[in-house]
């Protein structure tokens, strides 16, 4: 029986790997997710036959309660709320790993007297990573949901305190291995780890939460791996390592998109720079030219190549469907419409793509920064909706700008740039955008949804 379950665990591991591999293309992605869930199903079923599993009441209760909560969450969450949802799920995964490690500890000291060093170490690591992921994710969820302040929260001796707490955890861990029956030590480790999760995420600003959520995603995987070490189960180790790698890669992509180091994000550096209460840095001023819907309709009508640059402002204004209508009407006139998506356009990696997919924009119209940036000189109209800092040319040349060095979409190389905005206000980075005053830029004032709807009507009347 043991051999059968090992083989099924191997099959499950292979299904997880194939599942992620099939996420490499939108065509096969859904099938990949199915394969991955099939692997999970097989793993659960074969575990029920394990010789250790003898009572089923609690298992049935747990699975029914968990499935109900998970299903309701998954079906109710709006696509704009996806970062919070993933944040919360990370927390549950991490919490589960910590609890399993905790339960294993009591099980082991119940049936044997001692705790081997390697088992002790992995229990401590699993509890530490899992508990940090749990409370850290709850704070991240709170920040994204607006329950916890989105501001950078600084407290005195931030780094020394956190380092000290980690050292305390390790010292307690050593004592636990020497003195395995003293469960107060493990309780202390749990408590400190829970506090540590709060302290580590609190300093990170609300707008940096996507990085925190990606990092916590990685932690939840590592926690699962550590649990695999405790149970000596290769499948858990493999699955956890895949998630750990995924979270780290996404974290680094987000950091690169903002041109910031991971340390800078984790320590809450960014808003510190501009938080002195000083007025926003005065950028280039001048006369911005504005355009009305009727005139813009004519400009678009005579264009051949249009690129739309959506920012999170578009999602906040719920303008995705209006933008989709605009795309359809332009395509009917044989105008080539594409979308240029900056890595940090949404509130988590790939978020903007999901929001546009929900509005039924075809995914082959969505282009990543590196795939479209060289093409802007051939673009007749670049239409920017709800984005600001990610199209600020100062990032290319102004060494004094806080966003200097950040990869931006080179919209200013297009023949005409149209910026839809409510006013000339500054973006998230608190800096004026010189793009608005360029000779080839036209400002299309108005809130995104109304403005785009008006534009669609004007095009219809042409």
């Amino acid at each position: 029986m043991q051999i059968v379950s090992y083989l099924v665990y191997l099959i499950a591991s292979i299904l997880f790997i194939f599942g992620i591999k099939k996420l490499g293309s939108p065509k096969t992605a859904r099938q990949g997710n199915f394969l991955s869930s099939l692997g999970m199903f097989l793993a659960v079923v074969i575990t029920l036959f394990d010789q250790r599993v003898l009572t089923f009441e609690y298992i049935i209760i747990g699975i029914i309660v968990g499935s109900a909560i998970g299903a309701v969450m998954a079906l109710k969450v709006p696509m704009t709320g996806m970062p919070q949802m993933v944040g919360l799920l990370n927390g549950f995964g991490g919490g589960a790993s910590a609890l399993v490690a905790f339960a294993e500890y009591y099980h082991i000291i119940n049936i044997t007297d001692g705790l081997e060093i390697s088992t002790g170490v992995t229990i401590v690591l699993s509890v530490l990573i899992g508990a940090v992921t749990f409370t850290g994710s709850l704070i991240a969820f709170g920040k994204l949901q607006g329950i916890v302040t989105g501001k950078v929260v600084k407290y005195p001796l931030q780094n020394p305190i956190n380092i000290l707490l980690i050292i305390v955890v390790f010292v307690a861990g050593v004592y636990l291995v020497i003195n395995p029956s003293n469960d107060t030590l493990l309780l202390a480790i749990v408590g400190i780890s829970l506090v540590l999760g709060v302290l580590l995420v609190l300093p990170i600003g609300g707008a940096d939460m996507p990085v925190a959520v990606s990092l916590l995603n990685s932690y939840s995987g590592l926690a699962a791996s550590m649990t695999g070490f405790i149970l000596q189960n290769n499948m858990l180790i493999i699955a956890g390592a895949l998630v750990g790698a995924s979270g780290i890669i996404l974290t680094l992509i987000m950091c690169r998109g903002m041109n910031r180091s991971l340390m800078n994000v984790v320590l809450g550096g960014w808003e510190d720079a501009g938080a002195g209460g000083a007025a926003p840095v005065d950028g280039p001023q001048g006369d911005a030219k504005s355009v009305d819907a009727e005139e813009l309709a004519m400009i678009l009508d005579s264009a051949q190549n249009v690129v739309i640059v959506p920012g999170y402002g578009m999602a906040v204004a719920q303008a995705q469907h209006a933008v989709r209508d605009l795309t359809n009407i332009l395509e009917k006139k044989n105008i080539n419409v594409r979308f240029a998506i900056h890595p940090v356009a949404g509130r988590m990696p790939g978020h903007m793509n999901v929001l546009l997919a929900e509005a039924q924009v075809s995914y082959d119209k969505l282009f990543a920064l590196e795939d479209i940036n060289d093409d802007f000189p051939n673009v007749d109209v670049a239409l920017i909706i709800g984005a600001n800092d990610v199209v600020n040319p100062a990032a290319r040349h102004d060494q004094n700008s806080p966003i200097y060095g950040m990869p931006i979409l080179n919209v200013d190389y297009a023949k005409t740039v149209v910026v839809n905005k409510r006013s000339l206000n500054v973006g998230y980075a608190g800096i004026q955008n010189e793009l608005f005053f360029f000779p080839n830029t036209l400002m299309f004032f108005g809130s995104a949804k109304e403005a785009v709807n008006k534009l669609v009507n004007e095009i219809k009347e042409l």
Partner: protein, 94 residues
């Protein structure tokens, strides 16, 4: 656990991380959100450990911890896979 066993587990861990890096760098940015929620569901694999604890013959503190772990892990697994499927369904090409 013998030290030899531990080393074998570390082998698996390290190799799996390399596989993970190779696989995930090939996922296009357009699918990064479903990747995150889908891999998130995979991290719910800890459900296996939760089942082992919740299903112990005698009712002990491990059973209670296992039950809570099982609820958490099941939320993670079911919620993660369903929400990923909901998103991937929307990705269509005209």
């Amino acid at each position: 656990m013998e030290i030899f066993d531990l080393i074998m587990l570390i082998y698996v861990f390290v190799l799996a991380i390399f596989v993970g890096f190779e696989l995930i760098t090939k996922v296009p940015p357009t699918l990064h959100t479903p990747l995150m929620s889908g891999s998130n569901a995979i991290s719910g694999i800890t459900i296996v450990g939760a089942l082992l604890s919740a299903g112990l013959e005698e009712f002990t503190i491990s059973t209670i911890l296992g039950l809570v772990a099982l609820i958490f892990a099941t939320i993670n697994v079911v919620g993660g896979y369903l929400v990923t499927d909901r998103m991937l369904k929307m990705f269509k090409k005209k």
